[in-house]
Assembly symmetry: C4
Homo-oligomer: 365 residues x 4
């Protein structure tokens, strides 16, 4: 597998579709219910048309992004996804090593298929952040955070907007279950087979539907690590986050895998950015596949973009080096998009935003 | 047939399509003429995007709905449909028993394929409401209402907007006629075979095209039962209804089976809700298939949602328990949608409506 | 061929497509260039959504339309089309007799395949109007008008917007030419075969690209018959027409067969109606296939609707009685649409227009 | 190959697709990345609907266009494209001769597959303009300009918006490389095979990503020839151009081959025209295929339209006479569009613009 075979991240998807068992491909690929949100996450990018600026010196575009005090070479990171070993036996370790080679952060899901300590031990220099939930049994959350601290994780990403597992029609139709040898390595397996959402098959991993903003305050007291809130789609919630001691927001509809028919994240971003007014870092995920997608998110106020499914496609096809190649491809596209749009830094993109972005429908008031 | 096979109501449709005779499936499925209204009833839900709220305590969402003084466990009921025995030999009795098992109301069509008395006798605890028309011969209407009262029906649903039978192109092309053994059990059969709309084949069931609001007053005088007006699509008509002594309005374009190219009901709802201003209960039907559809209707002012065709698909596939499973699936989806949107009651949905609903085209003025 | 086989005018098209030679079907069916106007003529009707009114007495809807002092039982007529004998050997005579049986007007094209005198002689009671052009040789126009007067034609329809023959890509690709036995019967045939537009093959029928409003004045002086201007799409031209002594306007883009990418006629109608302000009768054609289409045109200010292609499809399939059946089907649909929308006369439609019509995009300012 | 076989430029594309090697066809046809810009360049024309004016004297429409002091019989020219010999062995010489036969200007790409001197020598009467870039090695640019001056080229077209080669996914998937015998004839070939963009395979032709408006001033000092700036999509850049001594602007997104998801050029044109206010000639390219496309561009402020890909399709199919036929076809369509819209000159189109153009979405503010 060489990089030259792949013209785009979508090419990774096409090939992964032929290589993975159908039910596994669907598990990674699908959205909730009718997948309206998942499709909208992609199609809304096309509503935003670019008016490039020309004859700007773009010989050395600076793609560097500051997040939580670190500087990364690009405004890119790996979104949290469960069970990397579903697609490649090296699992999260390969992904983490790929992140390290590119010096990009990786958010490890608490539903990882390799214990979080092993990931950290096998890829000690990666910027690892741990994603977790507020579980019914708060000890589970507290213990995960403690383990993350000990293993050297640098931040905690608290997923919100998941008081219950999303409904994935394709998993139900496929009667999807985790294959032998893949399980939630940070938990004990439960002795039941439940379709739809594999989180059901994890002992102790019951999501707490009564979780509220007070639980964020509780989490804040459990750790000194920075806390990012993932799953914010509403400006009211962004304002709420501002009043707490959190370190950042991830605008996300979880790739359209939780509530169907939500807005796309790129459409939700501008109002959230306006509410936050630069007082908190804004990360965003869900549907990013092209360099111009990243450009548009930066223009509308995001600080960094997270990529999910393409990482698993690339992992399936080429393990660690597959992930490196895919992220490099996306980064190269972003670099080229900046040059062709006439912007030589993230702040240049933001300054030019109102000049270079035109929305036909989505942003019209 | 177990519930697990079906991920969505649409799955019931897909399987029913393979099991029912084509002309019967089409009779249930089709809309009038080019089916523009029928398609729009579905597609307009996608115009409404959700902005979920997070970290609200949604551990025990209360789905209870008050309608006409009764409380139902969910804002759900069964819309009136003719000839349930077309799809299952148990007909309306199975449907009524399913409604009873879930404690949801069922509106029995006066074109039922089992006499309304038998339905009530075989399922005595179901909340049964009788749907009727203003017939040319008012005695027919009066007699139906009297029989309903005696049989213990709790409300009368008067269908408006049907001064003449709708045109169903597919029925015409299929030369559809009621099969042997299925007839309008509350009427004497007419000795003619007429295609397009089976109501033509019922003796005495001639719709009165001269019916007006005065006939609602007439009906009001015939019974002490609450009267609901079904088929209101225009705010002017909603205002008219307010001036009469009726107990509720059902926003409906009859599943797109009467006038083609009407607005969808979800699109018509906001102006009607504004006109009514909470002074009358608002029910709505036509095109509801997903939990998020119900959430959107509640947010825009509906008190309860009625479901039609999916009940017949489920009845075709599994009789009484099929209907229970299908309605349970929809109810579970609605419960999950509330949780994922951050709302723990119908009134919470209404209070959050302007925050969580975004329309791209339909509601823009 | 009985009426019962056909649920809609589109059904006539589907069957005609299988019966006619492909090049003849295409000649009748096609629009100019990419057929954008032709498709838009249909799709724009769907942009207009109806909000029906209920419980109006619609037992005896009056469909009667006044045009040029005559009263017709419905606001319907037959649009001018060339060469009816292309699809049926009885040609325009059958069409005229069908019009007579329904007491609807027929506009005979000067490119008729039967001499206009023969049409009038064989169907003496039909309301026949003659369509003509301003030809390069004005004597040709003058002579046609004189012949029409003598043959008892009641009005002259002057086609505007055709200073040159439209480009029909399908005719070019099909190398379409009039088959043996079909020719412009009011003219001498030219000894050349020209594709694209058969008008090229008619001796003396050269359209005058220098024709102006002064030529309308000239035509006005040639005859006492009422003159209708066909092809008006612009409110400025409607105002111009008001200043001349013409008797009506036909809003038309010629079925999308002249300039491609024009507005649909239903979209152009409101501004023209506003400009005319009721001072001239407004007829409209291009794309009318359903009863609701007619309802919408009346609501937006049209007095009568003309139907073109469907008449030729029905003529192809059933001759005179085919045309009767097709027009009756459309008239019945219009009658039903009025009833279902709650309107019992054309003026009731107009009064209710702002209540019952909603545009999602087209009419938004 | 006779003109009669081709009803439209799209017909040339269809046939060329069957005649050219797939990778060559794709090289000519493709856009960057997902080809959103390329498709939008076409579809946005359909957003603009025409309201034709009738009964204007259009017997002798004057299509003449003034550009840079020359008068051309139509507002048409040939856009710069690399490597004409990819599709026909006569290459740019055939194209230039075709341009000469129609007295239309041709912009020769500096990436021509025949030396610019040979093109000029073999077609001495063609209005030839040389397209070039600011190369990293400015001597390369200077030398090209000097050679163009000596060979009698009349203008220099400086491409902007290409600080780096665009990404063409199809070329990458096809592993496209210039075939034996085709090379950048004005340069020395480089001894490497690089896919994606053949410009990579040209020695010395490294685009300068640091080029700025100052380099336009530098170019201005190198030559007395008029300089046109190609690739302007932003009104801010148009204003910038006004402040320099350039002779015209070409609104272009390079056929959608550089930055993907840009606006279409027809959508970008109005704001640029407003910014320029008639102070500089405006040319436009990217997606022009129909006479009505040209009409719309003129109405929105363009002075002349350039055509690209269709020239190569026609060249592939018929060499010099193929190009003549294709451009004649387009010119004839434009002439007919003017007549059918009621405009007899370019200035008449502009005066009537607000009357005859309606935008449904694109131009709405």
């Amino acid at each position: 597998m060489t990089n030259e075979c792949f013209a785009s991240l979508e090419d990774y998807r096409s090939l992964a579709r032929t290589r993975l068992p159908a039910a596994v491909f669907d598990y990674v690929d699908c959205g909730a219910c009718d997948e309206v949100s998942t499709r909208r996450n992609r199609s809304d990018f096309d509503d935003l048309a670019l008016r490039p600026l020309v004859l700007r010196n773009v010989s050395e575009p600076c793609l560097a992004a500051q997040v939580l005090g670190w500087q990364f070479p690009q405004p890119l990171g790996i979104a949290p996804m469960a069970f990397h070993r579903l697609v490649h036996s090296d699992g999260e370790i390969a992904t983490a090593r790929a992140a390290n080679r590119l010096n990009l952060p990786m958010i490890v899901s608490c539903m990882s298929s390799i214990p979080i300590e092993d990931i950290a031990a096998e890829s000690p220099h990666t910027h690892l952040w741990l994603q977790t939930y507020i579980f019914k049994n708060k000890d589970v959350t507290r213990e995960l955070v403690r383990r993350a601290e000990e293993a050297g994780y640098e931040a905690i990403v608290l997923t919100t907007g998941c008081p219950a597992p999303g409904k994935r029609d394709k998993n139900i139709r496929n009667a999807f279950a985790l294959p032998e040898g893949v399980h939630a390595a940070n938990f004990q397996p439960r002795n039941v087979v439940v379709h739809n959402n594999p989180i059901h098959s994890v002992e102790g991993a019951d999501l707490d539907p009564s979780a509220t903003w007070r639980d964020v305050e509780w989490l804040r007291r459990q750790t000194q690590l920075p806390i990012l809130l993932k799953g914010i789609m509403n400006p009211n919630d962004a304002l709420q986050a501002l009043s707490l001691d959190v370190s950042g927001i991830i605008v996300s509809n979880h790739g359209g895998r939780q509530l169907d028919t939500t807005e796309s994240t790129i459409c939700a971003l501008p109002d959230i950015a306006a509410a936050v007014g630069g007082r908190l870092p804004l990360l965003i995920d869900s549907g990013f596949r092209r360099g111009t997608d990243i450009l548009k998110a930066i223009a509308l106020g995001a600080d960094t973009v997270l990529v999910g499914r393409p990482v698993l496609w690339a992992l399936a096809l080429g393990g660690e080096s597959g992930v490196v190649a895919a992220l490099k491809l996306l980064g190269d596209e972003f670099r080229l998009a900046m040059q062709l749009a006439g912007c030589d830094s993230l702040s240049a993109i933001r300054r030019a935003a109102s000049d270079i972005l035109r929305s036909r429908a989505m942003l019209r008031k």
